[in-house]
Amino acid sequence: MVLALLVLLAYGGQQMATPYEVGETIPLSLEPVNLPYYLLRTTLRMFIALGASMIFSCVFAALTTKYRAAEKVLVPILDILQSIPVLGFLSITVTAFIALFPGNLLGVECAAIFAIFTSQAWNMAFSAYQGFRTVPAELKEAARVFKLSGWQTFWRLELPFSLPGLLWNMMMSMSGGWFFVVASEAISVSNQNIKLPGIGSYIALAIEQSNLHAIGWAIGAMLIGVILYDQLFFRPLLAWADKFRFEESGSDTAQSSWLLAWLRRTDRMQSLVAWFGKLFEHSFGLFRQRYDGTSVRARPQTVSGTPERIWDAVIAAVVFYALWTLIHFIHTEVGWGEAGRVFLLGSYTMLRVIVLIFLAALLWIPVGVWIGMNPKLSERAQAAIQFLAAFPANLMFPVAVVVLVKFHLNPDIWLSPLMILGTQWYLLFNVIAGASTIPTELRYAAQNFGLKGWLKWRRYLLPAIFPSFVTGAITASGGSWNASIVAEYVTWGDTTLKAHGLGSYIAEMTAVGDFPRIALGIGVMCVFVMGFNHFVWRRLYRMAENRLHF
């Protein structure tokens, strides 16, 4: 079985590197028979992107925590990258990737993989950075007293400590991955239409041909894909990572996985693991600290402030230069009027995001609290919601178009709910988590005092779930911004529905291939998302941290 899996992967990998010229069309068919193969290709892309994000996160965290100079530059850059919409990356980078591998499909593959990578890497990197930074001081000291080298500390202390958070983030951003896999396989840039073999292209083709049956098949295949990923990949991984949880006392929320249990029982797997483990430990022997504190080599260099000041000056110069180029760019390429118009569009989209979050909160808070207060229900509901969150919402878009066209509804209003279709689950998920951690004593107290109605919500339930609500809302709003590019500009066959907003602007410009305007749109979205994060969410978050904590 393991072998069969390997053969499959190898086959899929080989197919990725087939020759290809720009302009060629890759044969695709809507026959359901092809779906397993497409699923394989898509899954492979996901895997590669996940691996890349993992490596990126580790390198990022290691660099930023070891070198002050790197931290000063990389963390703000990541903050900006995080707020750039994923599809924006795709439209900008695809040409570069194609140029990188001329005459080969690998370039386009890379672009698609990169898009998936961007939907996961940033928050994973932040989570790893957080993890590395919050390693308890005594453990760090222990690592130093026992003279672990940098390499050893990384594998023995820093990575294990941050792993649970990292995996959790990986799983949460998986839904984003599925969402964008659909968008990124069918790339239409500069009036070119490249469709890589995969589920996403299948769906895109089905949309072009208005084939509702094929959409049904695709939904089915996606369902299977998500389930397989969950059962064969994430469950085992989470169950395995359980031992890295730091709370030293045992907790009862352990994950379980049949696959991991089976692997742990199989001798051959065990010997394989042991072999890898040995290899690993061998590397510890190679990269060890060869001297101790009495050696001259351990003598601290005299630190002077000059290099740091020079570095600061360099950063400032680069930032100024970038600003100047930006102003120059807007002035010559697009004009200030256009920029103003894009900002206006941005505020439309912002209005949508705010209203939608509010509506979603109105709907999901009561439901979430109700589920969260029933421990039995909440356990099952959480698994279901995780699954729903991983399910790409854009599969539902065609249905929406059909309905909208049929009833002649105003797309400016009725397209908006699509934005939050996929991200509302974060909200529900977090509210449930918050409600289920309300201390039992507090619950009894509320019952005892006979809190009822609005008073009960205002004085007891809302404050109790507020911190987790904010956490969920941050993710949900970020996701909604991202989704706006797809959700404000929806096509089904020949019908195209468009809502006024920043998302549709970017989508439209991408279709036309107008690079300066794509860049402008993305830049503006970036500004909005970052502003929103800094001025609204972070403050709410800090308030929640300080005041409404058990």
Partner: protein, 439 residues
């Protein structure tokens, strides 16, 4: 006997506070750790004893003076020095065996050899059978045994113990302490010297050949006491009791001989640290003191026994009581002042008033806050104003806790009120009105 292993020569260490000014944690410390001895460092929290331990472990560099290990300057953690941590600092994802092997693995020792040595260490410390367990499966005492085995497997010359028993309950801590002393006496371990940092006086006296008492602000060695009793020592024996008494005296104010002088010494400055003493505990001690069997005067160790407080807590409370003029410390004893007796007898409402008055007179920080509020037309000020002031003399966390304590006391003494969510300190409504009328 007197071969020095680690020497500290007029070592100083300071940390930068928020406004960039340096604050001395240690100043001019001279110390020698010799072969064949156990030394205990005692002092209240913030007296720099943990900093000194970390200097000797090579974890932090000294700002002034020199740290020598076997006559050579020490720049970082050395092979012959090992450490046991207060919170165990075990790697929770590694089994007991792997945790113990950690230091050997880091050295690049082949797997077979290090497994053998780890097993030997595990057996020596009484953990056989638990090799495959994860730390989270073990109780606190067992975990610390792993921590000790992990340190001993490296066969260190020097073992540094940073409050190694204080996270354990009393009985477990005592057991472990005895086991280590047995190992030490039996000569089974290669360790030539042990340094113990503690705030438990009994622990220090039971273990050490020398007890060093630290003074705070800046940290320095205030007194040294040689304990020339053979181990194992009996806690109940009169010699040990009187030694413990003696150390209490040393810790509460100068040396025993000059206790009269020390009573004056406790007068506080505006930017000083405040003792970590909550009001309920202070009142509790006052009441216990006033009643049977103490009648206003108690031996500190006895009081600790009676109230179940740790040494650190009791010392903080007694310091606070002396500050406020409710008690005086004399050697290892605490005595109620007439005011303290009055306080213990009065009703709740009058207590607030009395407490407030004493605060205004004796705690400059509280008086300063009250004064500032009275001067201010609106009657409210933000806490950050005072925090900034405190940061001139204290570090980040100390100034925060000093202000927190000042606010807690001031609130109890009805001197001002405080709103947590906004961080604003303000006069209570009645005061405000009274003031308005007077204007």
């Amino acid at each position: 006997m007197n071969t020095p292993i680690i020497e500290l020569k007029s070592v100083g260490k300071s940390f930068r506070s928020a406004d960039g000014s340096a604050r001395a944690v240690l100043e001019g410390v001279d110390f020698t750790l010799n072969e064949g001895e156990i030394v205990a460092l005692l002092g209240q929290s913030g007296s720099g004893k943990s900093t000194m331990l970390r200097l000797m472990a090579g974890l932090i560099p000294a700002d002034a003076g020199q740290v020598l290990y076997r006559g050579m300057p020490l720049y970082g953690p050395a092979n012959g020095i090992s450490m046991v941590f207060q919170s165990f600092a075990l790697f929770p994802w590694l089994t007991v065996q792997k945790n113990v092997e950690l230091g050997l693995e880091a050295k690049g020792m082949p797997p077979k050899e290090r497994a053998e040595r780890a097993e030997a260490a595990i057996e020596m410390i009484g953990l056989s059978g638990f090799e495959g367990a994860l730390p989270r499966e073990l109780s606190g005492g067992m975990r610390q045994r792993v921590g000790i085995a992990r340190a001993l497997v490296l066969e260190p010359e020097v073992l540094l113990m940073d409050e190694a028993f204080s996270a354990l309950d009393v009985l477990t801590g005592e057991r472990l302490r005895e086991d280590i002393l047995d190992l030490w006496e039996s000569g089974k371990m290669s360790t030539k010297a042990i340094l113990v940092v503690s705030h438990n006086i009994e622990e220090a006296v039971m273990m050490a050949d020398r007890v060093l008492v630290f003074a705070s602000d800046p940290g320095r060695v205030r007194d040294e006491l040689a304990v020339s009793l053979t181990r194992p020592r009996q806690v109940a024996s009169p010699v040990v009791r009187s030694l413990i008494d003696n150390v209490y005296g040393l810790m509460t104010g100068g040396s025993t001989r000059q206790s009269r002088v020390s009573a004056k010494e406790v007068k506080l400055q505006l930017g000083d640290r405040l003792p970590e003493a909550d009001i309920a505990r202070m009142e509790g001690i006052l009441e216990v003191l006033a009643e049977e069997p103490f009648h206003g005067r108690a031996d500190l160790p006895k009081l600790a026994e009676e109230t179940g407080l740790t040494d650190e807590e009791l010392l903080d409370v007694s310091k606070a009581l002396t500050l406020l003029g409710f008690a005086i410390l004399d050697g290892g004893d605490i005595m109620l002042t007439p005011l303290g007796e009055q306080y213990a007898r009065t009703e709740q409402i009058e207590r607030h008033e009395l407490f407030g008055r004493q605060l205004q007179e004796n705690v400059p920080l509280v008086a300063y806050i009250r004064h500032g509020l009275e001067q201010d037309p609106s009657g409210d000020l933000h806490q950050d104003l005072f925090l900034r002031l405190l940061r001139f003399t204290l570090n980040e966390s100390d100034s925060a806790s000093a202000l927190r304590i000042a606010i807690e006391w001031g609130r109890y003494g009805n001197l001002f009120e405080y709103i947590y969510t906004t961080g604003v300190i303000h006069l209570s409504r009645d005061d405000n009105e009274a003031q308005a009328v007077s204007i």
